[in-house]
Amino acid sequence: MAFRKIFTQHIQKKTCHTMAFYKKHGGYEQAKAALSKRKKPDALIDLVKASNLRGRGGAGFPTGVKWGFVPKATDKPKYLVVNADESEPGTFKDRLIMEKCPHLLLEGILICCKAVGIETAYIYIRGEFVFATERLQKAIDEAYDEGFLGNNALGSGQRIDVTVHRGAGAYICGEETGMLTSLEGDRGNPKLKPPFPAIEGVFGCPTVVNNVETLANLPYILEIGADAYRAIGPENSPGPKLFCVSGHVENPGTFELPMGVPLRTLIDKHAGGVWKGRKLKAVIPGGSSAHVLTADECDVAMDIESLAAAGTMLGSAGVIVMDETTCMVDAMLNVMRFYHHESCGQCTPCREGTGWLAKITHRIAHGEGRMEDLDLIQDVCDRMVGKTICALADAAAFPAESIVKKFKSDFESAIQNGGSPAWKKRHPSVVGGTASHA
């Protein structure tokens, strides 16, 4: 079966985001069927389980299984919180969905609400996405006008409400429990797990947290069925996927391709290859929290299991390409500063470790590194991983440990030659050398 696009097939059309356009192209038909009073919610959960749909936010957890964790018998209201916080560096796919096909997301939300018995959904969208928020709100207003939301949503007999909730600038609010704490009106501090959100999430109630792209897959799954969906790409990580490519390529952008597309094809064929005729040096395949790949390691399929087997991850599918002129010390400094800035500060290893990593890298880049700093970085990373409330510490450690290990020569060079090339260019008069600290 030829690959059919479900996100980007209409994005060139000026009105592709409107209700009229969406309905004209078969929109809301799947949700209408799913929400009919005769359709059993469990059947929907089973279908999504069978499809092997895996979360598109970064963790890749099987969506149907997650829905199945929500207790059926509960007095408490259940909530859906859509993760539209998209702050993973290198990632911009959810934004495309919200700006160009917001109704696809809303239809997915309706299907999820029916499957899990949810009446209230929040779309937690990062505060900086002002235009996407406007598009989303407009789509929601249209949906309420048509009776697709509100009382008796789509004739389901069920009330379904969707509220857009703007974030205010914090990467950690993309972490599912950080998002929930922020939704509750607090600093975006992730919560201790267990209990997991499906049991006790926002407002102490069972909560499903799903990524925008994950939910946007649902109408298609209902349309073609689980078997056909599983056949798109590898069976354990199937479906159409939005891949974001940025950095040193001729043609950065979002590419809709089946899961499992080879990384080299993605970069060379779709993104136009490394720019300016240069050679490839490094690739981050899944947002900055993923282990880096050297140019030689790029013969890998872009799906969850293949990348995991290659010692990295698909993550948010934010592919960042670096050419041969990139100093990996500078690249790492940039990424370490990001995590240092974004750590919520709750728990000790992350709060202090992200700062430490940034400071060591800064010192190396600025000409005062020592050879022992490379082992120190590895040790700090080991001491951070697996010891914190959430995975931000891991997200900082993974790029750190892999960049230092795989690009050791860049670091050795900076240590021995007075700093990174960028630093030396800005400070030509400083005579570098190894650190004079005791």
């Binding site: 505060g127 900086e128 996405f129 703007r166 600038g169 939704l183 009106g185 950095g247 981050i284």
Partner: protein, 167 residues
């Protein structure tokens, strides 16, 4: 000052509508702060106190929330807040040059506001627009695929707008 602050009737209606969307009052805090940001132009101490009193939330709690997040428009921010994305993908494609150019043109470094109060410059983290790097956010708007000329032009346009007394 704090006692003269209050939401207009329209904004108060929006606030009341917000309260109907959440099971707890506190959950409406972040969106209410956005209402305050829009109504009062910035979130400073009096504005935080107003929201805290309105929502019957301890002021210290609101203070902790506002200082946690980076995107609320804080007191003393210039009329045009230029936020240059500086995370990896943008850095790889020249975000530093954008910052340097703005510093040359406006005479301020990141974290500063011009004396006339028109411009503030910040370096911010990934804005989710990596395919159009380098880029920046000016108040609510994204300005993408920036060349140095684009930066010059943007600054000129903003200066013109300010003179014209328009938004």
């Amino acid at each position: 000052m704090a006692d003269t602050l209050s939401f207009s009737p329209t904004t108060m209606k929006q606030y009341e509508w917000l309260l109907t969307r959440y099971p707890t009052r506190r959950a409406a805090l972040l969106p209410t702060l956005r209402l305050a940001e829009s109504e009062f132009g910035e979130i400073g101490v009096p504005e935080m106190r107003y929201v805290a009193d309105l929502m019957e939330i301890p002021p210290a709690f609101v203070f902790g929330v506002v200082t946690f997040y980076t995107h609320y428009r804080r007191a003393g921010t210039g009329k045009y807040h230029i936020q240059v994305c500086s995370t990896l993908s943008c850095a790889l494609r020249g975000s530093e040059d954008v910052v340097t150019r703005i510093t040359e043109r406006l005479g301020i470094v990141p974290g500063e506001t011009t004396d006339c109060g028109l411009f503030s410059l910040s370096k911010v983290e990934c804005l989710g627009s990596c395919d159009t790097a380098p880029m920046l956010q000016m108040n609510d708007d994204y300005h993408e695929d920036l060349s140095i000329d684009d930066v010059d032009q943007l600054i000129e346009q903003l200066r013109e707008s300010a003179k014209g007394g328009s938004n």
